[in-house]
Symmetry: C2
């Protein structure tokens, strides 16, 4: 189950960025579960990683390697997260990096490993290494769609976004893929995202922009509130378009970062739409809050409430459960009588109770839709924050009760 | 579904405390949904209430009335929470109090109202008042079991506990009832608890003991992390036993507070065992933490994780999900290699990964049971904290997706 059509848009190749897909048979024989990505020499690469203290071996190695060397290859395997695997996990991830480095004639620090799947099982290193030659032979700038499928785990559909912007007669391309459907929560989740552009962007600026945009996209989605040990989101800039963006041209920088935000929002929303068992795509918008943290406290309290999420699954306009969430979000001196809550354009709460104009029919009409906006207007200040989430369905329970079997 | 046999123990009457049950037909015709409780003159009463900022009208009135007058009557209705009902809700709750005051010849401030059920619907005042004469006529010290049933909403079984302690040839009785099965979370939940004793306890001391014991019982249980707008837990002391407990006799005070904790723990655990859709009763014990807050952060992160809860439902020893929770609990400078995690007596995590001695068979044997202990040993200090929770099952989703229909 997933929300919306889920057809992939046209995925423009990014000059200087190649992808190769192969099958290592990690969980299922024949499944294409290994993706190798190659950055042209001279590319820059930015990354944001999970804040889970139990971050997996590959995440720890990615950080070390990024600090030590320009990055040339990213290796992703699915089916096994190589997390909670102790020292052996570190050695296993390094063995994979070394195998790539040897085949591609780069220093081992130029290779970054990514793993996603079950936690706590030993990484099947031999299987992965055995698939590397095929992945390398498959490297191509036209492989985005196959790579989007290659990084899936419990995802029911591949996720990708692509955009081209024109500037002074030149074209800049941004294309990306993502994966994730459960364990989705701020600070990255079982979420992997890879975006590449052919613009030239200095490393420091690239990192700054990725961090900012990830905070407004990947870090604002939640399916079940669980944060994974493996989340990573990477942004590569190859420079092959010949357009340099260094921040000195504000108009160009704005054009680029806006396009980046659209691409990353589309990738992030695709994860929510494919949330485990999702039947609804829900935006929670908290308006006129005093501060960003208080807006997010209210938004996430609603987004994580099992009672709200099951009501969404039932298409039940049970506004009392939303109201109870606002009440327990821990906001100091909340004036209950001053706030309003809306389902799309239907006002459901005002003056501390059910809105006078509210009818069950109007609420029901909103809830019957697949896409729902919950708006909470606090009337305390100027800040607006948005998060995106799903409902909680029988399928969520089935998927997560059966995942290992 | 519920965990354990669920048979009620012998419920000793508490001299000076009478209960009367009647049917107001609030949600279902004929259902006994109104309970009136009478405290003998001279009794003391302590209360703890929800911290939800949207606390319901009856909670607001309880606090006002408790401050204004000794309490003589408590009136509970189920089927309607009188929450999110604005000024009309306050007027409705007061109308019920006035009707009790008139019939029982006490000041209106001596009457405390409690409501539990659907949020945001107008309280059916006329139906409740029409049932008061029957409830009053039914008042009896032997009515604990009927009252336990009378305060149920989505509960599948009545909940009660009772204990007698002997001291210098005299008997002190403590008997209590509770209700709640969803929206269960620290700071009270859709939880109501009423405990009475025939000891004589000064008001201030009674309040202090209730607050302390509630913090270690009702405030340590969680089913779905949602906090209700209506939670209340009350402790009445009638003094009819002739034993005064004022703290000057430490041995007696210890005897009494330990019995109180056993009774309140049993009432709290009964709520978890009857948690919506529960198939498991789970204790999460975090040991050798540096501080109580960090122990509770770890415990609640595990207790609220949908991934852990669905694995519990599946009887799947997916220790990786527990480990990921400890990692994202936000503990500063957590030494991953120093901690251990156990399922009952089976060590599942040590040295940052799966325990060397661990076998799937041993883990599976624990998970196949109905009662499971998850122990996290942080090895950072001296503090131990416990919370109790359930799994997340298909029935939880069904119950909460269908509740209003």
């Amino acid at each position: 189950m997933a929300v919306g059509p889920g057809t992939l848009p046209q995925l423009h190749p990014v000059s200087g960025f190649r992808l190769g897909i192969a099958s290592a048979g990690i969980k299922k024989p024949g499944r294409r579960d290994v993706v190798l990505m190659e950055l042209a020499e001279g590319s820059t690469l930015a990354g944001v990683y999970t804040l889970n203290a139990f971050c997996a071996a590959p995440v720890r190695i990615c950080k070390q390697h990024q600090a030590a060397s320009p990055s040339r290859y990213m290796l992703v395997n699915t089916g096994n997260a190589n997390a909670g695997t102790g020292e052996q996990g570190m050695a296993d991830a390094m063995a994979c990096c070394e195998a790539v480095a040897e085949r591609c004639a780069v220093p081992v620090e130029a290779v970054l490993p990514y793993s996603t799947g079950v936690i706590g099982e030993p990484l099947p290193v031999d299987k992965i290494i055995a698939a590397l030659d095929a992945a390398k032979a498959d490297l191509s700038e036209d492989n985005w769609e196959a790579a989007a499928s290659g990084i899936m785990t419990t995802d029911t559909r591949p996720k990708a976004a692509s955009e081209q912007i024109q500037y002074q007669g030149k074209t800049i391309t941004l294309t990306g893929i993502s994966k994730g459907s459960g364990m989705i929560m701020p600070n990255m989740a079982t979420m992997l995202g890879y975006v590449a552009t052919d613009a030239e962007v200095p490393q420091e600026l690239l990192q700054q922009w990725l961090t900012n945009v990830a905070d407004r996209s990947f870090n604002r989605i939640t399916v079940d509130g669980d944060t994974s040990t493996n989340d990573s989101c990477m942004l590569a800039a190859t420079g092959a378009s010949g357009v340099r963006i260094d921040g000195s041209d504000y108009e160009l920088a704005a054009l680029f970062t806006e396009a980046l935000e659209r691409v990353m929002l589309e990738l992030a929303h695709a994860i929510v739409r494919d949330g485990e068992g999702a039947t609804k795509f829900v935006e929670i918008c908290v308006e006129s809050a005093g501060t960003s943290p208080e807006a997010l406290d209210v938004a996430y309290t609603i987004a994580h409430s099992p009672l709200v999420k099951t009501a969404l699954f039932a298409s039940d306009p049970n506004w009392g459960r939303i109201l109870a969430c606002v009440g327990r979000a821990g906001i100091d001196n909340l004036d209950l009588d001053a706030l309003q809550i809306y389902l799309n354009d239907v006002c459901i709460v005002e003056n501390g109770g059910r809105a006078a104009s509210y009818t069950e029919e109007a609420g029901q009409a909103v809830m019957d839709g697949e896409e729902i906006l919950i708006r909470v207007v606090l009337n305390r200040g100027q800040v607006t924050e948005r998060v995106w989430t799903t409902d909680l369905s029988h399928d969520y329970v089935s998927i997560n009760a059966d995942y290992r079997s």
